[in-house]
């Protein structure tokens, strides 16, 4: 390094030496700044294309009705039809199933993540349950619980609890051994260790499971309502299929989509609040 400096200083008075090349910024390889409202942009483009194609008469209105037809149908169904009851019924099913699945997933994960006995009893059983496609349980559950609400809520709860259990359990048992050692050195009681070290450390994993669980609750709902229901959004869509009302089907899909998007955003928001300490790492 020293030699380089000396040569430049001695060469400078010789005047004729060309200026050293200006430092050019390196080509940036990361994608750069986020666009504002980035997550809405794609859906808006799709909507615009749909509207344009409908207006140009390029779409068969029987197969894909125009966006404004869908909106009009939705308004009509809401004021004069059964849409409010259907939405409420669907929300209730998803809500109950989700609440039960969340509770079960967290409790089982805690029991199995915090004690070896619990792990021996629970983990293998849940892994077995996971290997069986939950929707394949529908016939058996109808036989056991009848075709009413109970079996629907039960299926949704199963769809929800599995990802929550898996991710929370993995996070609980993957707690950094260095932190365990620290807790021992600081003389933490077992309860304090669980509350102050294990659970906060497992929260990121829990939130991954929670988001999968929320999505799962809607997924289970759609399937259940389309095959075994006499009310709810899925039933509405199923009926519309019989009468060839594609606009009604689109209304149902739209509402499902909005539910999914809103619930996911809510979970994200809570996650950002609770895990605010993580933002310091990602920046």
């Amino acid at each position: 390094m020293t030699t380089v400096t000396t040569t430049t200083t001695t060469a400078a008075p010789a005047a004729a030496a060309p200026d050293p090349p200006q430092v050019r910024r390196r080509r940036r390889l990361s994608p750069g700044r986020r666009l504002p409202a980035a997550r809405l942009l794609g859906p808006l483009v799709v909507l615009a294309l749909w509207a344009a194609a409908s207006a140009a008469g390029r779409l068969d209105p029987g197969a894909i009705p125009a966006p404004w037809t869908v909106v009009r149908t939705a308004g009509h169904l809401w004021t004069e039809g059964t849409l409010p009851t259907d939405v409420l019924t669907s929300l209730e099913r998803a809500g109950y199933g989700f609440a039960i699945g969340l509770t079960a997933g967290v409790l089982l994960a805690l029991a199995s993540g915090l004690s070896r006995t619990g792990e021996a009893l629970i983990d293998g059983t849940v892994q077995l349950n996971r290997a069986i496609p939950t929707l394949g349980l529908i016939p058996l559950f109808i036989l056991w619980l009848g075709i009413g609400e109970t079996f629907k809520v039960a299926i949704i709860a199963i769809v929800v609890y599995i990802p929550i259990y898996l991710n929370t359990h993995a996070a609980l048992s993957g707690i950094d051994s260095r932190f365990v050692e620290l807790a021992e050195v600081q003389g933490l009681s077992r309860l304090a260790f669980v509350r102050q070290v294990v659970i906060p450390g497992a929260l990121p994993g829990f939130f991954v499971g929670l988001r999968l669980g929320v999505t799962g609750s809607w997924l289970g709902l759609v399937v259940l309502e389309q095959i075994n229901a006499t009310s709810g959004l899925g039933y509405l869509m199923f009926q519309a299929q019989n009468y060839g009302q594609s606009d009604v089907i689109l209304v149902g899909l739209l509402i499902y989509g909005v539910f999914g998007l809103v619930s996911d955003s809510v979970v994200r928001l809570i996650e950002r609040r609770v895990l605010s300490w993580r933002r310091t790492l990602s920046n």
């Binding site: 260095r178 620290l182 807790a183 600081q186 003389g187 933490l188 102050q196 906060p200």
Partner: protein, 244 residues
């Protein structure tokens, strides 16, 4: 320089025939050692010489390691690790208070942070601290418990050279004020000479050299007398300095 002779009579740590082995290989092979209360001791050794094994044994952290021997250590022991080991989900003050309760705990935590020069950073997240600041917070966490014995496992190993010198002064100051017994594990001969009043070299599972460094503090790396200590320690570690 022997100011605390009355303290030195009662050993804080006593090891008798301490043996620890991994996979049938004795890493610590019958160690006898007394650490007087209030003494600042450094433990040197090659990597893999068993320094950390000894420290972890004294800290009571070696679960499931085969071994025998007698070991007594004080009630209140704090450990400083090479990494600061701050819980990323607790703010700095929360980390210092980990495992501490009582009404005046928070007050003591703030005082400890002030003492290590982190006043005003109580509400920061560990992710916002520099390496040196994080290690200061870790020091505050161990001091707030008023330990009789402070165990430090290469606490400055991950810091840059400038920060390390500052941390040396800080540790020495804190020791002077609180007078815990210190066992500092390091592989840095200069660090041991500058900081400690007694330097042990661990070799083949035993204490190969037990050297008292009777020089006033603060010491500089450049003191010629310290060079003699350095050569003796390096020789004990099997390193010969090349003066060519």
């Amino acid at each position: 320089m022997a100011p605390h002779t009355e303290q030195l009579t009662r050993p804080a740590v006593r090891l008798r025939g301490l043996t620890r082995s991994f996979g049938g290989r004795a890493v610590l092979d019958g160690i006898d050692l007394d650490l007087p209360a209030g003494q600042f001791t450094a433990l040197l050794g090659h990597s893999g010489s068993g320094k950390s094994t000894l420290l972890r044994a004294v800290a009571g952290l070696d679960h499931g390691v085969a071994g025998s021997g007698r070991l007594t250590a004080p009630e209140r022991v704090s450990v400083v690790f090479q990494d600061s080991r701050l819980l990323p989900w607790r703010r700095v003050l929360g980390n210092v208070l980990l495992g501490l309760d009582g009404k005046d705990a928070e007050e003591r935590g703030r005082a400890a942070l002030e003492e290590v020069g982190l006043k005003g950073r109580e509400r920061a997240w560990p992710g916002e601290l520099s390496g040196g600041e994080a290690q200061r917070a870790a020091l505050a966490r161990s001091l707030v418990r008023e330990p009789e014995l402070l165990l430090a496992d290469e606490p400055f190993g991950a810091l840059d050279a400038l920060t390390r010198i500052r941390m040396h002064n800080l540790l020495r100051d804190l020791w002077k004020r609180h007078r815990p017994s210190v066992l500092l594990v390091t592989h840095d001969v200069d660090e041991a000479i500058v900081l400690a009043d007694r330097v042990l070299v661990l070799e083949n599972g035993r204490i190969g050299l037990d050297l008292t460094i009777d020089r006033p503090h603060p010491r500089s790396y450049r003191e010629p007398v310290l060079g003699e200590y350095r050569e003796r320690l390096l020789a004990a570690l099997g390193v010969t300095e090349d003066h060519a």
